[in-house]
């Protein structure tokens, strides 16, 4: 079975790398964008199965990305998980109103993030944490 594709949209390169390592170890294929504009462009290009979206982004913000994705039918159906360092309550409500499947406030627990991803993708819950044995190649 092909790997599920996940687009990570975050302006922090360290966060993108950390998520990539964790997701790759769980057999996900990852793509990246560091701003709102390229977030939409990379979504069009790769048609990911899921998007992890930060809210504070250059060239717009996460809400702008969600709004633009909604305007394109094949992108509007992609589940979005918002992972943000912004204040929780008001942004959480706004994110859900904009169509996000989940809102997680940084710093995010890896197990929680993976559980939310699996749920959004309709995959069964994991029974153990990833080890070296299930790492993909670079």
């Amino acid at each position: 079975m092909d790997s599920r594709k996940i687009l990570i949209v975050d302006d922090n390169a360290d966060i993108r790398l950390g998520m990539h390592l964790r997701l790759r170890a769980n057999q996900y294929e990852t793509f990246f964008a560091g701003d709102a504009f390229s977030g939409v462009a990379e979504a069009r290009k790769h048609r990911p199965d899921l998007i992890i979206l930060d809210l504070g982004l250059p060239a717009g913000d996460g809400f702008t990305v969600m709004e633009r994705l909604k305007q394109v039918p094949f992108l509007a159906v992609i589940p979005i998980i918002v992972v943000s360092a912004r204040e929780g309550l008001s942004n959480q409500k706004r994110a859900y109103d904009a169509g996000a499947k989940a809102f997680l406030q940084k710093p995010v627990n890896d197990a929680e993030l993976l559980a939310v991803i699996r749920q959004a993708l309709g995959e069964p819950a994991a029974t153990k944490r990833p080890t070296l044995d299930n790492q993909g190649s670079v």
């Binding site: 922090n12 360290d14 966060i15 950390g18 998520m19 390592l21 964790r22 170890a25 504070g56 360092a85 912004r86 204040e87 309550l89 008001s90 406030q105 940084k106 710093p107 995010v108 627990n109 890896d110 944490r129 990833p130 080890t131 070296l132 790492q135």
Partner: protein, 89 residues
């Protein structure tokens, strides 16, 4: 023009954003090391990274407590009762 009052009010949100992003990196890469995703650690190395992670978790707890509600923009901070009831629904 940004007034001193406005700047003071926005400080918690700014601090929260910056600290949460840095903490996220510490926790992410610490757990990557502990889980052996960058190669197996010795028992001692694993213990030390574990100590780092525990302390990062403590900082997060302090951050959550200290900035609870204070990081909301002016005029958007609900009372504790409102916040609790929203979380329960």
């Amino acid at each position: 023009m940004t007034t001193p009052t406005r700047r003071t009010a926005e400080l918690p949100a700014y601090l929260s954003h910056e600290l949460r992003n840095s903490l996220a990196c510490i926790q992410q890469f610490g757990s990557i090391l502990v889980d052996g995703l960058a190669g197996e650690l010795s028992g001692e190395q694993r213990e030390y990274v574990g100590i780092m992670l525990e302390n990062a978790s403590k900082i997060r707890g302090v951050l959550d407590s200290a900035l609870d509600g204070a990081e909301q923009p002016l005029g958007e901070c609900p009372s504790k009762i409102e916040r609790a009831s929203r979380l329960e629904t």
